[in-house]
Symmetry: C2
Subunit: 339 residues, 2 copies
DNA sequence: CGGCAATATGTTAGCGTTCACATCGCCTCG
DNA sequence: CGAGGCGATGTGAACGCTAACATATTGCCG
């Protein structure tokens, strides 16, 4: 602050004294009670403005026994999806009158997550949104849900658990069917790492679409979501001339695949088609522009908050349908054989 | 929660009763006071564990008049830099014993930011970290700093304001000198939008390096940080055959520039060199791999927390030196004329 | 204009902590 | 063996608010 010591923040009592009313009347004004006469309200409001009064949330939380807080645990905060989700949860929470505590843990690591959850619990959150669709967190849920309301953000939640999600399986089917429709028969998959629910779902969607389309699964390589791992996978795939298309489990890996293909002298999409997943903002301006599956993280966040607030208010365990992703066709996939 | 109504959370009094001591002794144990006999401590600890006691932060904050909270206001939470910064601040804060309130506002918009700051102030944060190096926030600082400790995360802070930052100017000089060293004389710049401090600093660094190198400024186009805007700028630049290099103010725009260049039939780096800024994780796996300037967001976040906690404890207004960025040479820039 | 609602305001207690201080043992030492 | 001191523990009050209830004030009717 600009000048060293400052007075204690004004309290309701201070406002009340200045306005010539009781602290309870101030409380009523602050809480928008309609049992206050217009002129009194104005006098109180004037005192509030003059003093710069700000209600003490701790005192309020103490007596109401409600923190008014929701916690979001999420991983990989530097990535587009999680970042967007966090922002959207924050915004939706504010709108719903809740304070949101964003708790990023860099990677899905059990002890880090447990510490983060402890911190959330210490903050007396009324619900925890678990934005970590990783296998290692599924055990947490059972234990956690005895202590606090829990909403999983998860495309394949355990039965009976409150959750919201984007249909990863359907997205992968979309991508794979598109490639199949272009005439590709040997479609490789660069999967996300084992343990991630979304990775599993996308892989299974790829497998299911292939089966339904009467095609054999192409080569399959597991990455770690990074473009580096996509690059390495792409280098392997590039050696197999029979592969004409690649479905990568996210855009970063897709971009790595594309680079590897380029380096191996195979053109995208003329020689090999590539489809990604996520539709990060840069996807449309890669070279070539990336065909991918768009996920609506903003809606996901809003939905999560909605379910959480309902859970708090009514204790219901309603699971809304998964949000449908959308195929965004650009230029990184082309017919096979070329027209 | 799994079963409807749950008892009130246990309080210190409950623990005290179970352990057969006074609530004050429980308080001492919880706060790690050394004025408690070993066996008493154990008895209390056992009671705590048995009841699953968790100290009520609101009550504590109420009486200590300290929230133990730090707020971070930041924009564009979906991007790599801000996301990384937020995560790093969160982590550093936890380590320093503070709760961090992450407050993302999608874009630097004054009213949204003011609302966010109000929310932070309502939460009684002990310091606000302003991770929004946008011009429209500079006015906020003066007003805000009368109410709470403020740390700007800013590469060109107003005098006398506590701040931390990465040297944007130096980074731009690094990039431009590198291009100059490769023999380029006509170096275009795709700038960040007007109003952003970092954009200004990078532009000025470009200008300064050019001046020092005895080169005239090449064409200059203002983007909005997005790859789309980079693409549009690139399309314009591509028409000017005399331009042999482009310094883009971030990696997204660089990638858009590269695509536009490709579409115009100009090869990167053989015909035109491109350098970006940020070193996002995907930069190394673009085609071609992007030469860029790396910023250490993690250190930035740690430093910001450090300065904030010092400010709270000692009221000092120490401004640590700007963090130096680093040029990462990859393949998107080449000698001119080609070797 | 007295009485009785209804409306507006005030009073008291208590939420779960910590702080300041009081008390209780027990040990030490003259 | 008693005074003094110190270490361990307990007591009471206060933080700023809301909930529940008590009281004052107003308006309206007969």
């Amino acid at each position: 602050m600009v000048n060293g010591e400052s007075k204690n923040a004004p309290s309701m009592a201070d406002v009340a004294a200045l306005a010539g009313v009781s602290h309870q009347t101030v409380s009523r004004v602050v809480n928008g009670s309609d049992a206050v006469r217009g002129d009194t309200r104005e006098r109180v409001q004037a005192a509030i403005d003059e003093l710069g009064y700000r209600r003490n949330k701790s005192a309020r939380a103490l007596v109401t026994r409600r923190s008014g807080r929701l916690g979001l645990l999420y991983t990989q905060p530097h990535l587009y999806g999680p970042g967007t989700l966090a922002a959207s949860v924050h915004q939706a929470g504010q709108r719903a009158g809740y304070d949101i505590i964003l708790s990023p843990v860099p990677y899905p690591e059990a002890t880090a997550a447990e510490r983060a959850i402890e911190a959330l619990l210490d903050d007396a959150v009324e619900a925890v949104l678990l934005g970590v669709s990783h296998q290692s967190f599924e055990d947490l849920v059972a234990q956690l849900s005895t202590q606090v309301e829990v909403v999983m953000i998860h495309s394949d939640p355990p039965a009976g658990v409150r959750s919201v999600g984007i249909d990863q399986h359907a997205g992968a089917v979309l991508a794979t069917e598109y490639l199949l429709g272009l005439g590709h028969r040997n479609i490789a998959h660069v999967a996300g790492p084992v343990g991630w629910i979304d990775a599993r779902q996308r892989r299974e969607g790829w497998l299911a679409a292939l089966r339904d389309g009467g095609a054999e699964p192409g080569p399959e390589i597991f990455g770690d979501w990074s473009s580096r791992s996509g690059y390495e996978a792409g280098a392997v795939i590039a050696r197999d001339a029979s592969v004409t298309a690649v479905f990568a489990a996210n855009d970063s890996m897709a971009l790595g695949v594309i680079r590897a293909l380029h380096e191996a002298g195979r053109r995208v999409p003329q020689d090999v088609s590539v489809v990604g997943f996520d539709d990060v903002p840069d996807a449309a301006y890669l070279w070539p522009p990336l065909t991918t599956v768009r996920q609506d993280f903003a809606s996901l966040g809003e939905l999560a908050v909605e379910v959480a607030t309902e859970a708090i208010a009514e204790g219901t365990v309603e699971v809304p349908p998964l949000i449908a992703p959308e195929l965004v066709v650009r230029d990184s996939a082309a017919p096979n054989p070329p027209a």
